[in-house]
């Protein structure tokens, strides 16, 4: 929410800022509110919401094997340590069937804007409560993210 300071009213901004400082989410576990040193996104780092992927940004057609194969390479380098391609959870959830459970823009935002998602998205916060490890920002480009999404569709 601290990235949303486009509101003209100082009071409204203050309220929002306070909310993001722990006034809200009182039911979140301590691990979610006070992530360990080095794990939390800094204010400067949190990407602005206008970088967020929306449904309009993604077109899904028949599975593109070239993209999926590029996605598999990225998966093996940056994701596989924590995510299986089955249904089981390793550190994070297994990916089998994930494109049926989640909207593609939600998946893309978890990959590209994970810090914003963990700060703002209730579903992402629920996952954090379950897994207790903040999903790392693995510095994927937009194309990288799209390729991984295509790989997920093959699972």
């Amino acid at each position: 929410m601290k990235t949303k300071i486009t509101i003209g009213l100082a009071a409204a901004t203050l309220t929002l800022a306070m909310a993001s400082c722990g006034g809200a989410n009182t039911d979140a576990p301590p691990g979610a509110k006070t992530p360990p040193p080095g794990a939390a996104a800094t204010e400067a780092e949190t990407k602005a919401p206008d970088n967020m992927i929306t449904a309009a940004d993604i077109t899904l057609g028949d599975i593109d094997q070239t993209m999926a194969s590029a996605g598999k390479g990225i998966y093996e380098l940056k994701c596989q340590a924590c995510h299986s391609v089955g249904t089981n959870r390793v550190v994070g959830p297994g990916w089998k069937g994930i494109t049926e459970r989640r909207k593609p823009e939600w998946i893309m935002n978890m990959m590209l804007n994970v810090d914003v998602m963990l700060d703002q998205d209730p579903e992402a916060q629920k996952m954090l409560e379950e897994c207790l490890v903040r999903m790392p920002n693995q510095s994927l480009s937009k194309d990288d993210g799209r390729h991984v999404l295509e790989f997920m569709r093959t699972l």
Binding site: P36, G38, T42, A81, N88, V91, P136
Partner: protein, 664 residues
């Protein structure tokens, strides 16, 4: 110890400040531990939580061998950069990748003494790309890359002993210098194996010119100039009109080789040696030097492979000023000069005779005229000595006791440190008048103004690096932290703002605006660009490979587990190499690696990096390893086991990371 009464006048101001006006008579030693500050200084150094400092301050670690980075004006310690000494905080000198950085012709040196920090320059101004620092005991110069705040290269200086007069730089980073403190016999074994008492006959000094290569972050020795046997102390390059010249202070022109405290303090004047380095460069290009023995190491840490390599060079190009004319001139300078500092205009050269009652300021224009007119006062071991009066701009009279170093602001003022009278003295470079003085606590050595040895100082502050701490902080037994002091120089009067503790013993330092550096700072290493030969690109590649008695563990780490974390089939006496790759791709998420009983060390691995720990297990058992850098809520779960079997056993090599539910 009984302290003399403070001769100060205490005034209470209705405006809300407590002012102590010191008796600032010349030579007055500070006589109290109390700090002389006005009421509002806290606001001038207070950087509110989450905000950044205006300047980076790069400070030598002295006997620690390292370089520390502080923020100014807060004085907050931001980083200790390991350079010439091993560092248990991050494995510098312990990991296989960093060991070559500390290799020399004398073998692996785990601890040196670092003295002077110099900034890379463009057009005579620090450009924020590199810092350089000298290794004093085993002569070396290091190049620190300010993108990573890591030591990129270390070069050894041959035919040198005590690399004190170093690593000062020319205005466009053409050369760094390394002047030997000790003169020594050099050449073949027979030429070096001589009685000490043949000093005058057999000993020589050298000043080396080192070429930094910013494209590769490496250095090489371009040439060395041999000099008469004296002790070189400090140096600074000319700039502006004096660009092309280098100035070195030298003492022990008595050529003493024992009890220098007395025997090297006999002559009324020693020298500032002026070197025409453009001329030397030309001679070198014309092939007029001689290649002579000068074995030295060139060590470079390459971030693309996250590893260092050493290259050994056997010879060095030497220029002999007795054969090649117009290279060197001596300017007489009173009483064992220490600091040798050139003002921002490049016209004035300040020599600080540490035993002298005056501060001589030399004029470059006059020096050029004296050389043209051959206005000599004889020679010293064949090198022309210019007449003192002919090259002198003037003397600062009674500046204080024990002048050591001078820095400059951008308004025509100089700031000189006075060790014996423990004060900073501000004086006008042109008129030579002393305009202000402040006490320091205690016994100042070097001092630093941001950009204070450049063409365009940023000014604003002067920092005193004091040699004695005594009672400035809570006592910590016989060993105390060192103490720096920050003064504002914005007004006519210098104003003490802050004491801050420093590690090791700071000598020279540099301060540059944060803007020059902070946005270029590397946040993590791209895993795609990791070309380490033992990198593990993804958990799928994690494995253990046996080659004879060598066992290579290709291990990955990510929040919060290692792969593999169960290893069997290792035997007592095997050489086990843990090549640990951190798969994280986010800022500030290092992982650590510690193996029980590993006598070598631990590792600290930055995101995207690979580092290697070598371990030779000595006993049978199942040995634990774990992550030493708190990385997530499940950091305490980041651990593994390695089974060590007896030498010669048949336990098969096995490695895995088991998930509860294999899934698929």
């Amino acid at each position: 110890m009984k302290r003399p009464v403070l001769s100060a006048l205490v005034l209470l101001s209705g405006a809300g400040g407590l002012f102590l006006l010191f008796n600032t008579m010349q030579g007055c030693r500070p006589q109290t531990a109390q700090t002389v500050v006005s009421g509002d200084v806290a606001s001038k150094v207070y950087i509110k939580p989450g905000s950044h400092d205006e300047f980076y301050n790069f400070v030598s670690g002295g006997f620690s061998g390292q370089m520390s980075v502080y923020g100014l004006p807060s004085g907050r310690l931001l980083r200790d950069i390991p350079v010439f000494s091993v560092d248990p905080e991050n494995g510098w000198g312990y990991s296989e990748e960093t060991k070559p950085m500390l290799m020399t012709t004398h073998g692996f040196i785990p601890w040196d003494d670092s003295h002077h920090v110099e900034a890379s320059m463009t057009n005579g101004v620090p450009d924020g790309r590199y810092m350089f620092i000298n290794g004093n005991n085993t002569p070396r110069v290091a190049m620190i890359d300010l993108k990573t705040f890591r030591t990129a290269s270390i070069i050894e200086i041959p035919n040198s002993a005590g690399n004190h007069s170093s690593p000062f730089i020319t205005p466009n980073s053409e050369y760094l210098v390394a002047g030997t403190r000790f003169s020594i016999p050099m050449g073949t074994d027979a030429q070096r194996d001589v009685p000490i008492e043949t000093y005058k006959e057999n000993f020589k000094g050298t000043v080396s010119f080192i070429k930094p290569d910013t494209a590769t972050s490496t250095m090489s020795i371009a040439f060395q100039i041999t000099t008469p046997a004296v002790d070189f102390d400090l140096a600074h390059a000319g700039k502006g009109p004096s660009d092309g010249w280098f100035f070195f202070s030298c003492y022990n022109t008595e050529q003493a080789y024992s009890l220098l405290e007395v025997n090297a303090s006999q002559r009324d004047k020693d020298f500032i040696m002026a070197v025409n380095w453009k001329k030397a460069e030309q001679y070198a290009k014309e092939g007029k030097g001689k290649m002579i023995d000068g074995k030295h190491y060139m060590n470079h840490y390459d971030e693309s492979v996250h590893s260092a390599t050493s290259k050994v060079v056997d010879q060095v190009l030497q220029l002999d000023p007795k054969e090649l004319t117009d290279l060197l001139y001596f300017m007489p300078c009173p009483k064992s000069p220490h600091g040798c500092d050139v003002d921002p205009t490049g016209e004035f050269i300040v020599g600080s005779g540490k035993l002298a009652a005056t501060l001589p300021v030399f004029s470059f224009t006059k020096m050029q005229k004296a050389i043209a007119d051959k206005d000599f006062d004889g020679d010293f071991v064949g090198i022309p000595v210019l007449k003192y009066e002919s090259v002198l701009h003037g003397e600062v009279k009674k500046p204080g006791l024990g002048p050591l170093h001078t820095e400059f602001d951008n308004n025509g003022f100089a700031y000189s440190s006075m060790f014996v009278s423990s004060e900073i003295v501000k004086w006008n470079v042109k008129s030579l008048e002393v305009v202000d003085r402040v006490p320091t606590y205690y016994s100042i050595g070097h001092l630093c103004v941001p950009g204070g040895d450049s063409k365009q100082p940023w000014g604003k502050y002067v920092i005193a690096y004091n040699k004695i701490t005594k009672d400035r902080y809570l006592p910590t037994g016989p060993e105390l932290t060192q103490s720096a002091q920050l003064f504002s120089i914005d007004g006519d009067k210098m104003e003490l703002l802050l004491d801050f503790p420093t590690t090791g013993e700071p000598h020279y330092a540099q301060a540059v605006p944060a803007e020059l550096i902070k946005d270029k700072s590397t946040r993590f290493f791209k895993i795609e660009d990791n070309k380490h030969p033992y990198a593990t690109k993804g958990e799928k590649e994690a494995r253990v490979v046996r080659e004879g008695n060598k066992v290579h563990v290709y291990m990955t780490c990510i929040r919060s587990h290692f792969a593999p974390d169960n290893i069997e089939g290792v035997k007592v006496g095997d050489e086990v190499y843990f090549h640990v790759t951190n798969l994280e791709q986010d800022w500030d998420v290092p992982h650590g690696f510690a193996m029980k009983g590993a006598p070598t060390a631990e590792l600290l691995i930055m995101p995207g990096e690979t580092q290697t720990l070598k371990w030779v297990p000595q006993s049978v058992g199942v040995k634990p390893f774990y992550c030493t850098d708190f990385c997530s809520a499940l950091h305490q779960e980041m651990q593994g086991y390695l089974r060590v079997s007896p030498a010669g056993s048949n336990v098969p090599l096995k490695f895995e990371t088991r998930s509860v539910d294999a899934g698929s």
